[in-house]
Amino acid sequence: METQVVGLDACLIRNYLRRMNLLRLCGWERGAEAFMRHDSQGRFVPLAEIPHQVDDLGAQIALCIAPGGEDYEHANAGLYDTAWYLITEMANNVRQHSRGIGFVAAQITLSDGYVRIAIADGGCGIPASLKDAGFPWAQDLPDEDIIERAMVARVSSKGQPANEGVGLSLSSRIVDLMGGHMLIASGAGTVIRGGGTVLKKGRFENGNRFPGTLIAISFLQSEAADFDSKLHKAKELEIPLRAIPASAIFQP
């Protein structure tokens, strides 16, 4: 199916969308590129399709956001780890749950210090995925309430034994702890979480729907340096620990 675009000439961010590959990926521009590409110098990562293996994709984008961070001793290691973790968790969701094609892009805005990552897919969406999985609680809830529940630990459409359903909730909490927000739009519903709570929940106007899932994440670059401790804190907040934690054997 071919889509048509109307009013692109009047779009004020047309050149930005072109450089982010949106026009080409949508099939709205074909043939040779009529502009010169420059090195993004760690400021943005153009839209890329999520492949079967999300590992390399996560590493490439993390490296662009945090140059040098693949070295654990580097000053950018925390930012690299944050980006890699969030991208691979979200991209895994796209690949495993949505049954559709997905895209990811990232940007750092130096003026406000925020890292922004967006992941979108044209699959079945979170509400439909959880309804199809047969969860009784999901059958009669509005889409925005289903999305909210999906952001809570141990809710996953894929289910046991390969999935514990903590990826989305831990990611959301990590973003919280880094002074950011997570927006999820799927089906008819939208939810924005930040500061440990749901900031806004609603529905698209006029009965509109987004058939897949869009996840937009923002977090402060300066808060990502201690990813280890943020992850630890997120774990404590999202995963109910037993009174006496298990004493497993760890060796250096």
Binding site: D55, W84, V166, R242, S247, A248
Partner: protein, 103 residues
């Protein structure tokens, strides 16, 4: 008998695919935990730079859900970076909680 598993040899430096982890666990770890002659199973994370919850939970949580305290006695986690260790500890807690619910 001690059985050592070097994860980097099988998965490279980054661990992120939960379905791969689950398959590996069933075929390469579970059988040794069930083996009476196997005293210790070492999961060696040396050389693993990054891991996410999908992978670590699929690899570790089910072992504890299934084997409980026995897994605590037999399993050793070696060479974890701090980030990886947090994820392993979370997976153990999830698994042990579910084991307690089953008993």
């Amino acid at each position: 008998m001690t059985h050592e598993i070097h994860l980097r040899d099988d998965f490279g430096p980054r661990l992120c695919d939960g379905s791969e982890a689950y398959g590996f666990r069933v075929s390469n770890i579970d059988p040794y935990l069930n083996l009476p002659t196997c005293d210790q199973v070492i999961l060696d994370f040396t050389g693993i730079r990054s891991a996410n919850s999908s992978f670590v939970n699929a690899l570790v949580s089910g072992l504890f859900e299934q084997h409980g305290e026995e897994a605590l006695k037999k399993l050793v986690f070696r060479g974890c970076l701090p980030t990886v260790r947090v994820l392993v500890e979370a997976a153990i807690e999830l698994g042990m909680s579910k084991h307690a619910e089953r008993v």
